[in-house]
């Protein structure tokens, strides 16, 4: 299987996104913003269609449009403080509206379907370089802003007292989310992309560890989910994105059951004989 060039490309991209997505996802989930991932995934579809219509690399198109949408969410947050979910509906409407209008106008030079469901056949060398670049840049930025992001997520006011530039970092973070999403759509597809961002983190949270450990476990679960999803989808001849989402849910359920069993066993041990 790994003798095929397309499979090597897919494996490389999968590895990149399996590290990148949970690193971004942990902050989104802890901010209770995991649905932003879904909204921006739809924004990336609009970016893909714009890219295809303008003969620009669709991943690049997705990155630019998703970044702009992320910045728009951040901007609208001030206007809709009490209706945060409404912001997502606005951006979702804009993105899906753009995507459907361009697709239905028949102006695309290629098929956008592969971006909806994800495909391992369509990853090009340029995509690989772009995704590698985005991933390295994003991970380095995350390392640099690690403590600031923790505090903005945990307690924005305390971050402000410590002179953290909260607004600026929130904008930078929205670009990081955009880069994770645009790196992932080739393989995973728009429809299940948010599962790559949220589910490994949801699984790691069940282990009730500290922040660093939760982040590392999130990456571990993410690599497991995506690699299993990629290899099994190849043998089952199904779309990798959908199957990876199923694997992620399965791993989460497995951890939940395991956790329950451990707590039952320890409760039984504590019972007097």
């Amino acid at each position: 299987m790994l003798n095929y060039g397309f499979m090597q490309n897919a494996l490389f991209v999968s590895l990149c996104i399996s590290i990148l997505c949970p690193c971004i996802g942990i902050f989104l989930v802890l901010r209770r913003h995991s649905m932003i991932g879904d909204t921006l995934a739809h924004a990336s579809l609009a970016g893909v269609t714009i890219g295809l219509a303008c003969n620009v690399n669709p991943v690049l198109g997705a990155f630019v449009f998703t970044s702009a949408s992320g910045a728009l969410i951040e901007f609208l947050r001030n206007s809709f403080k009490k209706y945060a979910d409404l912001i997502l509906t606005i951006v979702l409407s804009l993105s899906v509206g753009v995507a459907i209008t361009i697709i239905s106008a028949g102006k695309l030079g290629a098929n956008a379907d592969s971006f909806l469901f994800g495909s391992i056949l369509t990853v090009t060398k340029f995509d690989m370089l772009l995704i590698l670049g985005l991933s390295i840049l994003s991970v380095l930025t995350l390392i640099f802003l690690y403590n600031q992001l923790i505090f903005i997520t945990y307690d924005e006011d305390t971050a402000k007292v410590a002179h953290v530039k909260v607004k600026l970092i929130n904008y930078v973070f929205s670009i990081l989310v955009a880069s994770a999403i645009s790196a992932s759509i080739r393989i995973v597809g728009v429809l299940v992309l948010s599962s790559m961002i949220a589910l490994p983190v949801a699984t790691a949270l069940q282990l009730e560890k500290g922040f660093k450990a939760t982040l590392l476990y999130s990456v571990l679960f993410s690599v497991t989910d995506i690699m299993l999803g990629l290899f099994l989808s190849y043998y089952l001849d199904v779309a990798p994105g959908g199957f990876t989402a199923l694997v992620s849910v399965f791993v989460l359920v497995l951890v939940l059951v395991g956790k329950k069993l451990v707590s039952l066993c320890s409760a039984r041990k504590k019972l007097p004989a």
Binding site: L30, T153, D157, K160, A162, V164, G210, F211, T214
Partner: protein
Amino acid sequence: MIQAQKLYFSYTGLSPYVLENLDMHIKNGEYVSVVGDNGSGKSTLIRLALKFLKPTSGEIVCHANRVGYVPQKKDAIAAGFPITVQEMLVSYGRLLKIKDKRVAMESLAQVGMESFSSSLVGNLSGGQYQKVIIARALMGEPDLLILDEPSSGVDVESQREIYTFLKRLNATHGITVVSVEHNLDAAVKNSTSIYHISGGRGHFCSPERYAKEYLQT
């Protein structure tokens, strides 16, 4: 340390104002409890002092070199956040450019919480949590400590420990303490001065006078 002049504030920018023509001067080394009814603007006042909010008109200036802040307890966020006590303090220290991890442990030791360093913040009791947040606020040697209802959700014994500690910090280290209080007994027992907000305006009075005028009615 904190000075407000002709301060007006409303969330809409229009009348009616939460704070109206408010003048206030908190001097260095004081322990001031800010009291008043719910919605009187106590927390708004300290949020203005911390520059989280902008005055509608007038000004409020804080002259502290470094501020330690103890926010209102937010149970939902703390409970679901996977972070250990040590991780939180070390991470906060990094924001203050403190690279030595021992500073975090020393700060924890000040409030007697060093044995909880590897506990998850979400697993702490109300009192333990508040002590950890005070330890965090003390990192970087602040000259002003601002607390927003430090005793809410805290058991009586921990409340006593927290107020004794705050009083000692103020008396022996000279740290100015400004505390928004709904615990009026603690305000009277521990403060050097009380700032009472009512109808958008405030006035200072001594704890003794406050106890006489407000608590006995």
